[in-house]
């Protein structure tokens, strides 16, 4: 069995490559960066440092091969001969790689499954549309299977330099399972360790988004206001911990109303998530988790989406609103999306962004709450002052 992974980044190597090799697949990475492709192909291996409970387990992933996307002929042949194709390029780059995947699939006489391990709502539909748009005949629409891939593992960073001779390492936590959309794949399903095929894929996407991702984002944005650099220290701050737990509980209540308690999970799920945030071995940074706040503030995204769902279920999502307000204050010099948004909030106030990005009216309900919290936080916040207390709004 052969698998092609497009995008040898954190999820591509730190999750997909390991799961595929553990399942006996021959693994070929396709990289946009020729240095990365050359490195992986020359060394034929890399490591995953799996951190859990204060310990780090080193897993070698070998043998692997790699090719550069610029070597189009080779890339197409690899896809044409694969049993399964996975992407892990980031949602924004899917349109870039979709034509190449389509061209590779077009050379096949049999069907293949394509899994998009992208942090994306409605990933199955988007992946299918993007690839099929470049396939020559309608026959391909039914020949191939397409699914999003909901990965639960966090791969916080890559260690090492692809231009050097040392094998790279990817620092991750331990979850191995990932969900795929059973309704849109073709038989036989890929036999990948940890894969859970479900006919409620979008429900699981929402569950992760409105509990884990909402908590992660709340932690990053509140942690940023209080000056923490790491997720694992911010979550030990009693005020932040309480707010993050409450934000996730708000999201969970909305999920329970929509999908039932069994899927939404109970309080144990939330405490398990908090325990994952405590993993210091991951060294996961607030900056990484908070990156691109404009995207994360969208109407159906982790904070506002969860808050809207909770509100529809009759709850007041005060903590999600506070986290969204904190997101409007997030600024990281290395993240242009955050600096642009921060400047805009500073210039014109948060109303326009709340309306256009969050899809909320700043004059009533949830939007008003976010707006008020943001004005409160933004007035005290600046590159030079840190929030000392969420309750007292005391600044350093």
């Amino acid at each position: 069995m052969k698998a092609v992974v497009v995008g040898p980044g954190r999820i591509g190597c730190g999750f997909a490559g390991q799961a595929l090799r553990d399942s006996g697949y021959e693994v070929v990475f396709l990289a946009r960066n020729p240095v990365m492709a050359e490195h992986l192909d020359r060394l034929g291996r890399y490591r995953v440092w799996v951190t859990e409970g204060g310990r780090t387990h080193e897993r070698w992933v070998e043998p692997v091969r790699a090719a550069c996307l610029r070597d189009r002929e080779r890339a197409l042949e690899e896809i044409a001969r694969a049993d399964v194709v996975l992407t892990a390029v980031g949602a924004g780059s899917l349109p870039v790689v979709a034509p190449l995947i389509a061209a590779g699939l077009a050379r096949r006489t049999t069907g293949a499954n394509v899994l998009g391990l992208e942090n994306l709502r409605r990933a199955t539909r988007k992946l299918r549309e993007l690839v099929l748009a470049h396939l020559p005949t309608a026959a391909h629409a039914t020949r191939h299977g397409f699914s999003g891939g909901l990965v639960h593992r966090v791969v916080a960073r890559r260690v090492g330099d692809p231009s050097g001779g040392e094998p790279l390492a990817f620092v991750s936590d331990s979850p191995e399972e990932f969900h795929v959309d059973a309704t849109s794949l073709i038989a036989p399903l890929p036999a990948i360790r940890g894969m859970i095929a479900t006919d409620r894929y979008e429900a699981f996407v929402e569950r992760k988004l409105y509990t884990y991702s909402a908590g992660h984002a709340a932690l990053a944005y509140l942690g940023h206001l209080k000056g923490y650099r790491y997720v694992h220290t911010a979550v030990r701050d009693p005020e932040i911990r309480a707010a993050v737990l409450a934000a996730m509980a708000e999201g969970q209540r909305g999920l329970a109303a929509r999908y039932g308690h069994e899927l939404a999970g109970d309080e144990r799920l939330l405490h398990d998530i908090l325990a994952r945030f405590e993993n210091a071995g991951l060294g996961d940074r607030i900056q990484r988790v908070g990156r691109d706040p404009r995207r994360k503030l969208a109407a159906d995204e982790r904070l506002v989406g969860a808050a809207r769902l909770a509100e529809r279920a009759g709850y007041r999502p005060r903590n999600l609103a506070l986290a969204a307000a904190a997101a409007l204050c997030f600024v990281d010099a290395d993240d242009p999306s955050s600096t642009e948004m921060h400047d805009e909030v500073g210039r014109a106030g948060p109303d326009r962004i709340i309306q256009r990005v969050c899809g909320l009216s700043p004059e009533r309900g949830l939007g008003r709450r976010v707006c008020e919290d943001c004005k409160h936080l933004f007035n005290g916040h600046g590159p030079e002052s840190l929030l000392l207390s969420l309750r007292a709004h005391l600044w350093s």
């Binding site: 204060g54 620092v171 650099r229 210091a280 071995g281 002052s385």
Partner: protein, 195 residues
């Protein structure tokens, strides 16, 4: 640098050379040498290697200098400026500046904890300049404000950070960050098990 900061003579030489506002400072080998300075106002006399406020005395007239006549070490003296209010303790963690106002001398645990306050830009600049002077990330300084003007009256490396909310977490956060940088962003390899 910790050794430098234990010596008030070199500490204040460096601060004053860098233009950090601090009280006029003198070092005398004999207590009598300080007497003429008292005509301009009281002095604060401190052990030049002291810390934690130990042995600090305000001297108002020449007779009080007799108490120091047996001293064998150089005498460190600064002009006394009557504080407008409470003592201001500033704590710095790699560019993050925290302020705690505290009565002096603090007697109870609550008094030692003091009250956090929002640091105004002028005091923040002074605090950060102190760090630049000594090239350190973790330190504390004492400031008094007198007639509206700030004076740095002490600097210490790795102080207790008393009264800084969540100080232990903030320090752990910084130390993790510093260790990661020192190790070239490698995770804690010493804890690695298994292959």
């Amino acid at each position: 640098m910790s050794a430098t900061l234990r010596n008030k003579i070199t500490t204040f030489q460096m601060l004053q050379a860098a233009g950090v506002p601090s009280p006029q400072t003198w070092v005398a080998l004999r207590a009598d040498d300080l007497a003429p300075l008292l005509r301009e106002g009281p002095l604060v006399v401190k052990p030049y290697r002291g810390s934690g406020g130990e042995g600090v005395r305000v001297v108002w007239d020449a007779e009080e200098l007799d108490n120091f006549s047996g001293e064998e070490e150089p005498m460190f003296a600064q002009r006394y400026h009557k504080p407008d209010g409470l003592d201001l303790k500033m704590y710095c963690i790699e560019g993050q500046v925290f302020g705690v106002q505290r009565v002096w001398p603090a007697r109870t645990y609550e008094e030692k904890l003091g009250e956090p306050f929002t640091v105004p830009p002028e005091l923040r600049d002074i605090a950060l300049r102190c760090g630049e002077v000594f090239g350190i990330d973790l330190y504390g300084l004492d400031i008094i404000e007198s007639l509206g003007r700030p004076y740095v009256v002490d600097v210490s490396s790795f102080p207790g950070f008393k009264g800084v909310p969540d100080a232990a977490l903030r320090l752990a956060d910084y130390i993790f960050w510093a260790a990661e940088h020192a190790a070239g962003e490698q995770p804690s390899l010493r804890r690695k098990v298994g292959t």
